[in-house]
């Protein structure tokens, strides 16, 4: 177990979407800085966009939408609990980022006049920009990493951050999942871009890696930020998605909607007004299934054959291209068959819902020198383009932050205790395989945390999680690969505990299904118009507290406030 030491100015952890952009922008702004980008996978094909993306979910293109309209829509969709300054920081850079990516070679749909062809999918405004040829986005980004001289290191799973004696960030520690080396990286600023906690609930297929999110995103970033003392925010606002049953990937209504596809119940009736993913929409979806009106389907069989071919040319070649293979195996053809949908297991994700590490409009966390961007940060509904923009913001701000700074002084003890924790499962003679503990843990997450969130169930869940915490002392890994999985189990357990604790703390219902608590059926703005934050307390346990919602930049009108609460179609519309 050799130790490798590395020293850089800016360390970017996670080479999916936000991370490469952060690294590129840092080098672009300050070419003399040493910038290292690392990933547990291979940056070339890492992250949610490994096979590209089929649309920009939140494009703010002049002529279609303004930053003000967008910020208001996201505020309404999040039942008011947002930091508008952070959403706005994305909104005002959205168009420029699209143009920059366009100039790099990334393809976005344009109309006959060469303008971006934006579609309406959201409840109120138009923000979806299709990317029918969006499959090679990673290639274009990788070229820029080369061009700007970003150093890249693959197959390094970071397990903990290093914090200096003065409280500022000092670097990170990682395991090389191929060689088994322990790696200590000293850095003056760290940008965390490790994506969502996508391996929290267990998919109903029972397949550990059959997740909506890229399963490399196990929640490591949440756990690392938490142990470094950063504030996590909105963790109780779970991510739950409407997905193709069993395949567990998006169908995807954003692609099919503009072509005329929509969601129906077993009677072929439309029951939701908008297919845009929100907690309120998911609540209606859940009610339909629970109320005996399921299954719920995506309906495309009424479309012209030519239109369906166009849809297939997007859905079966980009983002999750194995969708076509899955349908083929089941004998499902969009032309004649409905696509059965279901409700996913829970996850944590800032980019889809709002559960993330707290950041301000400069992507700064509450730990000096530590930034978060992409799905890991709590900038609601930020999606792919928001990950790019917040990556940019973080990379550029980190460059300013390191000016005139030395590496922070650290206590070496941090490194020793982490080395011990990381290698314990390998050194143990025998014990429980990481995958078996993970299976049990995630099954318990389903049993006790999947909404509706029942108080007494979540309390039992916490007891089960504590018991599994004890089991970790018997976890046995046979090689560096299994050791990586073992470290992920630690992170998943942290996420499960924090998810339960934050959910118990907010004694109301909010965000539709994402935080539906039958014991507190109503939304209570009087007491709960605040963020719920979680931080590691002095006793080493998660502590909850509230943070006020900053004054709005764009105040909402009384009649706009509840637009997302009216998702259900009043009288069912026959198809």
């Amino acid at each position: 177990m050799k130790t490798r030491n590395i020293e850089v100015d800016v360390l970017v952890i996670g080479g999916g979407t936000a991370g490469p952009m952060a690294a590129i922008k840092a080098r672009q702004k300050s070419p003399q800085l040493k910038v290292l980008l690392l990933d547990k996978a291979n940056v070339k094909r890492a992250g949610a966009i490994a096979e590209g993306m089929d649309s920009v979910n939140n494009a703010i293109i002049p002529g279609y939408a303004t930053p003000e309209q967008y910020v208001k829509e996201i505020t309404i969709a999040n039942d008011g609990i947002v930091n508008q300054a952070a959403i706005n920081a994305y909104a005002i850079r959205s168009h420029d980022m699209i143009r920059e990516l366009d100039s790099w070679g990334v393809k976005f749909e344009k109309d006959e006049t060469g303008e971006y062809a934006v579609k309406k999918v959201h409840h109120l405004g138009s923000y979806v920009l299709p990317m029918p040829e969006g499959y090679d986005i990673k290639k274009h980004i990788f070229k820029k990493l080369r061009k700007f001289g970003v150093e890249v290191s693959n197959r390094l799973i970071t397990t903990r951050l290093l914090v200096g004696r003065d409280g500022r960030i000092a670097g990170a520690m990682a395991l090389d999942s191929r060689s088994g080396e322990f790696v200590v990286i000293r850095a003056k600023a760290v940008v965390l871009c490790t994506g969502s906690a996508g391996r929290l609930g267990l998919p109903s297929s029972g397949y550990l890696f059959g997740t909506y999110e890229n399963p490399t995103n196990a929640g490591d970033g949440y756990s690392m930020a938490y142990h470094a003392g950063a504030e996590l925010s909105g963790i109780e606002c779970f991510q739950i998605n409407p997905l193709i049953k069993d395949y567990n990937g998006p169908a995807c209504a954003y692609v099919t909607g503009p072509f005329g596809g929509y969601t129906v119940n077993a009677r072929g009736e439309r029951f939701i007004k908008s297919d845009y993913w929100s907690g309120q929409m998911m609540l209606e979806f859940w009610r339909e299934l629970e109320g005996g009106n399921g299954p719920v389907y995506l309906k495309l069989d009424h479309l012209a054959g030519e239109t369906v071919s166009k849809i297939e040319n997007v859905l079966h070649v980009t983002e999750r291209p194995s969708r076509g293979l899955f349908h083929e195996g089941r004998g499902v053809n969009y032309r004649s068959d409905l696509v059965e949908m279901h409700i996913s297991e829970i996850g944590l994700c800032g980019g889809h819902s709002a559960s993330g590490v707290w950041v301000d409009e400069s992507a700064r966390t509450t730990v000096p020198g530590l930034y978060a961007a992409g799905d890991l940060c709590n900038v609601a509904h930020n999606y792919m383009l928001g990950a790019f923009v917040f990556g940019q913001i973080a990379g550029e701000d980190a460059v300013d932050y390191v000016v005139g700074k030395e590496q922070a002084q650290i206590d070496e003890e941090q490194i020793e205790s982490e080395r011990e924790r990381v290698f314990a499962p390998l050194l143990r003679a025998e014990g429980i395989p990481p995958t078996q503990i993970e299976y049990k843990l995630r099954r318990m997450v389903n049993d006790y945390l999947q909404p509706p969130k029942v108080t007494s169930k979540m309390e039992i869940g916490l007891q089960r999680f504590a018991a599994i915490g004890e089991d970790l002392k018997q976890m046995k890994a046979n090689n560096p690969h299994e050791l990586m999985r073992a470290m992920e189990v630690y992170a998943i357990l942290d996420c499960a505990e924090i998810a339960a604790i934050a959910s118990l703390y907010r004694t109301e219902s909010r965000w539709g299904l994402y935080h539906y608590r039958p014991d507190f059926e109503e939304r209570n703005d009087q007491d709960w118009f605040v963020f719920v934050e979680v931080k590691k307390g002095a006793d080493g346990r998660p502590q909850c507290f509230t943070r006020p919602v900053p004054p709005y930049i764009y105040p909402l009108d009384e009649n706009e406030r509840d637009a997302y609460s009216k998702m259900r179609v009043d009288t069912p519309l026959a198809a």
Partner: protein, 77 residues
């Protein structure tokens, strides 16, 4: 404490006639996000070593000889 080995249906199918791993190719091993492909020292070709596949396809798309076919994992089919 005793554990047992489990068996499972492999969903990454490698055509040994097409795979050129013995010439040094490691493309699929390199790009796989979950790092589940390894060189089989027995036949010098690539094989799936862990049941941890996201059926995401980079291995299939980047293979220079079209030697890899990804199937949907059995539990999801």
């Amino acid at each position: 404490m005793t554990t047992y080995e489990t068996r499972g249906l492999v969903n990454i199918i490698v055509d040994p006639g097409k795979c050129i791993a013995e010439k040094g190719c490691r493309v699929c091993i390199d790009v796989c996000p979950t790092d589940i492909l390894i060189l089989d020292l027995g036949n010098g070709k690539v094989r799936m070593a862990y049941d941890e596949c996201w059926y995401c396809l980079p291995c299939q798309h980047d293979c220079p000889t079209q030697a890899i076919r990804v199937e949907i994992p059995y539990l999801l089919r």
